[in-house]
């Protein structure tokens, strides 16, 4: 079938030589990759619909409808049995709910901690392993936890972090008895310990992404900079780092979104406790809805979380959009 690649088709009507640079588009309109125009001989626009229908059915019924229903439900006081329209009351309640305040603070801690630990560690490790003889093997070890689920990672880290766990044992063994503590039982250590546990899992992916960026660093640029006498920190600061900007945007965007969505790790390690002190918005929503049956209130929290997630993914979404990041090839 591949023989058909050779110049068969008629001269494409839009083959006028150098095209003026097009404005960047954020949305996929019918692009140059779309061969068939409406009215082509294989039927009108409706001919394409059956191809897309299964996807629309799945997404429409099981994602879009629940989404709309959640937004609608957030205006009701709903305990699972009776529901009553209360307008914006659920949102007003958020403002003076101390649990929600703590949850919001923890969510911010997660975002900040994720930017500080996995992203920074990912960059440093990627740079350190770049062009190292056994760098590939080292990267493989660090990316290995990425293939393990959040749940299994959490089961392992519970074993590490519980009061008679491996971390405290190790601290006592080296004489740092005063450092040993109930990592999961007090705020803010529990949230910080959880962030460290997720760093173990999440760093590998960032290493891989940064390594891809480093490999794309043109040799000429590096050599030119070396001729000009740049090395070490100056090279990193003025050549490597600017070159990694595109990757960094994606890594940071993904890190923020993933930290906002983090659920498995926290649920297994602390269930958001003790006394709801390590809950993030993702956990608070789950507990309010499925443990306390405050369905409307839970929906309001879910909506707040969604707004935050979508707003922060805009950062890297802009790049991912069709016909910007991809058309450049």
């Amino acid at each position: 079938m591949t023989e058909m690649v050779t110049p068969a088709g008629p001269p494409a009507p839009d083959a006028r030589a150098p095209r003026p640079p097009r404005a960047r588009r954020r949305v996929p309109v019918r692009g140059p990759h779309q061969a068939v125009r409406p009215g082509a001989r294989l039927g009108g626009p409706l001919a394409a619909l059956p191809w897309a229908l299964p996807a629309f059915a799945f997404v429409g019924v099981l994602l879009v409808y629940p989404f709309a229903r959640s937004v609608y439900g957030s205006f009701f006081e709903d305990n699972g049995f009776t529901s009553e329209f209360t307008g914006l009351d659920n949102y007003a309640r958020l403002a003076d709910d101390p649990v929600f305040g703590r949850s919001l603070l923890n969510t911010l801690l997660w975002v900040a901690g994720t930017l500080l630990l996995p992203v920074l560690a990912g960059l440093v490790i990627a740079v350190a392993t770049h062009r190292l003889r056994w760098g590939g093997a080292a990267q493989l070890v660090i990316v290995l936890p990425f293939a393990i689920s959040g749940t299994a990672t959490a089961a392992l880290w519970y074993f590490m972090l519980s009061s008679d766990g491996a971390v405290n044992q190790a601290l006592r063994a080296v004489g740092l008895d005063s450092w040993a503590q109930a990592w999961l039982l007090e705020w803010p250590q529990n949230t910080l310990a959880l962030i460290v546990a997720s760093t173990w899992q999440a760093t590998g992916l960032n290493v891989v992404l940064f390594a891809i960026g480093l490999r794309a660093l043109p040799r000429d640029t590096v050599e030119a900079a070396q001729l000009d006498g740049a090395s070490g920190w100056r090279m990193f600061r003025h050549i490597t780092l600017p070159h990694l900007r595109a990757v960094t945007v994606v890594v940071v965007g993904m890190a923020i979104v993933n930290s906002l969505k983090a659920f498995d790790m926290i649920w297994i390690l602390t269930q958001g406790g003790p006394s709801r002190s390590s809950e993030t918005l993702a956990l608070t929503m789950y507990r309010e809805t499925f443990r306390l049956f405050h369905v409307g209130y839970g929906s309001a929290i879910a909506l707040v979380l969604s707004v935050v997630v979508v707003a922060s993914s805009w950062l890297y979404l802009r790049r991912q959009m069709p016909d910007t990041g991809w058309a450049k090839a």
Binding site: A47, F58, L63, A128, I148, V208, V247, F263, L281, Y286
Partner: protein, 270 residues
């Protein structure tokens, strides 16, 4: 960074990353009865089979393992097929307003699962899909389609339109063009999408926790959560053996298809 410092730093990181894995394996091998309430740092025996057996039967990880294998394989395949045909419609065929359809499908990956959960639970309770295998499979497909669609669509836009035009001139139908031109050329991309969705479904906890309850329906991560919460008395060796055994499929896939695996994630960078 000096050459030596660099080696030392990387070695330190590798050790730090390996240590939890080492403890996981060592303690999963400790006979549950011999566990002294403190983590073991050296090998104490070789009771992996017993520990896995306990987790497999008593905590019913075994049933869930089979269920999850079914969910991840079938839902991964169905989602890739559904996403590929939708991408074909949006990229290649003359569908009106492709941007609208793109956003409709793609929006599914943007939002956190929490926004879908409560209505899904209600919907499932009303239609009798709650705690059924078919119910979980439906929701997993719906959950997997958006990102698979995104990956496949990006791949498809890199294919020259002359391919489709040539095939049309030769008199091929859409169905034929899809199966004989696009699918063979996109094999790697489809494989990456499948691996990605298989892993996502296998690793899911939240949907399984919310939409199922009984042992032979619950996916494997939800069972592991139950094992950790209610069988804590059977001791860390059993729990760790459970964690180890549920990680095997994704670890094996990852080690076998590392390039393809990371392609899914790294697609967004290039």
């Amino acid at each position: 960074m000096g050459r030596t410092a660099r080696h030392v730093f990387v070695a330190g990181c590798v050790a730090l990353w390996l240590l939890p894995l080492y403890l996981l394996v060592v303690n999963a091998l400790t006979p549950a009865a011999d566990y002294r309430g403190e983590p073991d740092w050296t090998l104490q025996g070789f009771a992996l089979a017993d520990n896995v057996g306990t987790a497999w039967k008593e905590a019913r990880i075994g049933d869930s393992f089979q269920a999850s294998l079914l969910y991840a394989t079938v839902c991964g395949l169905v989602a890739v097929l559904v996403a590929a045909t939708a991408a074909f419609a949006v990229v290649v065929l003359p569908i009106p307003r492709p941007a609208f359809w793109f956003w409709l499908i793609y929006s599914g990956t943007l939002f956190p699962l929490q926004i879908f959960l409560a209505p899904l639970f209600g919907l499932y309770a009303d239609t009798g899909l709650y705690d059924t295998r078919i119910g979980l499979m439906l929701v997993y497909v719906a959950w997997a389609v958006p990102f698979a669609f995104f990956l496949i669509r990006n791949q498809m836009t890199t294919m020259p339109p002359e391919l489709t035009e040539a095939a049309l001139i030769d008199g091929a139908s859409f169905r034929r063009i899809f199966w004989r031109v696009h699918v063979p050329l996109l094999r790697a991309g489809l494989g990456a999408a499948f691996l990605f969705q298989f892993t996502a479904v296998w690793n899911d906890l939240l949907l399984g926790l919310t939409l199922s309850r009984s042992g032979d329906v619950q996916p494997v991560m939800a069972s592991l959560a139950t094992l950790r919460a209610t069988y804590a008395s059977s001791g860390p060796p059993v729990i760790l053996a459970g964690a180890l055994v549920v990680s095997v499929p994704t670890l094996v896939l990852f080690l076998l298809f590392r390039g393809l695996f990371l392609r899914g994630v790294t697609a967004s960078v290039r």
